[in-house]
């Protein structure tokens, strides 16, 4: 019975950290969300993950961040298309940053820089 209880707890963790993202989420630090505002250099609507390459101005210098998103099949279902965002778009994202300190992370929220929602096709 105890084993079942432990398994149920693990199950809850499993459900929130799903395998549907192709790889484990351990590389991202969900406890330290970070908000970035910048200009999109490229939107890679690709498998197994989509990415936004975001140019962020930090300390007077431009830094490029790789923001990981779901696969196209998942994003498509949420209304995303390959031109939902594109070069030059000003956006704001909240990410779970890479634990290794790299300029990257897994997206949690996204909007245009002024806070308005992206134009999605639902």
């Amino acid at each position: 019975m105890k084993l079942k209880t432990l398994a149920s707890v693990a199950g809850l963790m499993l459900l929130s950290a799903s395998a549907h993202a192709h790889h484990a989420g351990t590389m991202f630090d969900g406890d330290k969300p970070r908000e970035l505002t910048g200009t999109v250099r490229a939107f890679q609507f690709t498998n197994p993950h989509s990415y936004i390459q975001l140019i962020v101005r930090e300390g007077g210098q431009d830094e490029e961040w790789s923001i990981e998103f779901a696969a196209p099949s998942h994003l498509h279902r949420l209304g995303w298309r390959r031109n939902t965002v594109g070069p030059g778009d000003r956006i704001r994202v909240t990410i779970a940053p890479l634990r290794d300190g790299g300029k990257g992370g897994e997206v949690r929220e996204i909007s245009y820089a002024d806070g308005s929602p992206l134009a999605l096709k639902r």
Binding site: S16, H22, H23, G25, M27, S73, H76, L98, G102
Partner: protein, 358 residues
Amino acid sequence: MIRAALLGTAAALAFLAVPAAAQEADNRCAPSDTSALAEWQGVWLPEGLDTDISGRFLSRGSKFVGFDAPWNEAGWERVRANLALFGTGEYRVIGFGFPAMLDTAGELSFYVGHNQTVILNVYRDVQIIHTDGREHIPADEAFPSTWGSSVGCWEGDTLTIDTRYMQFDPTFSPGHAPLSDQAHFVWTLQLAEPEKIAMRMLITDPVYLDAPWVVENTMLRYYSAESLLLDGSNNDRTVFEDGSHTISADGSNRTGLPDMPAPAQLSASEMALLAGRYVDEKSGAAFTFEAREGRLWVTMPLLAERSTTTPVFPQSARQAVGLIGHAFDFVTAADGTVTAVEITRPDGTSMTAARAAP
């Protein structure tokens, strides 16, 4: 026979609520009218299972994770071991296998033919269900796989399926129910409504389950996609560095192919000097160079020693490389004529072929 066996099994399992079986044991499991099953076409989604924009957070868990399954003690130990592996974070999902493929956050399609029905999901998991009345192949001839082996029988709008020889592979379906390769699946698919396919599955496993495990699920028609947006790895930027995964900085080279140096442009007269037939005296191998359509070509023993014609990429007026990496160095006499070609194969071995013609 298989129809009778399947329907008999299903009928015995009253909770499966399989529609009344046709009593004729005519060994025909094909749909009586394939055109009547046209509504199965299209794209379907497991009901209520979706992700956020990261792809990591699900609206509900897969029903094949199996925490509600009646595991025996050995089964629970196996579940624990499977989750320990899952918890390392070192897994990579390359598909879900059977039966997890039927309840992922990805779409499915059903292809109903006369002798087989095929289920495909976006993760490129495939389930081929033979409906030509065949029996399962004997266990000692079976080839266990991640997707198992399935035979089925149609009765009206319901397909009853028997799946065996599934081999659990944690590379697929990480964190999902780690059933044994003796697991047996009897399941039905029914187009319950024009927009809904109902699945009921009875799973028995003499190794890890104390009792049959019943899984019920529904798939809803998904109108926003005309076909599956198949998963792949053309931009796999997850790399393993310093003991953990991270994102590679550059996602521009999606194929991973090396850049090749641009070939030199030779004039027609320069190519004409190289054109001709060259023979290696020791092996008898012949190499014929010809210029046509503005390009140099070579016909030589290539694929399984069969003579094959492929383009040649000049590096200079006397040097060139072949399509799969042969290096050609043409030997010139004092009068400027080309007398031989030194050929270095991709494995580093070489030969010299003397000009035989013209």
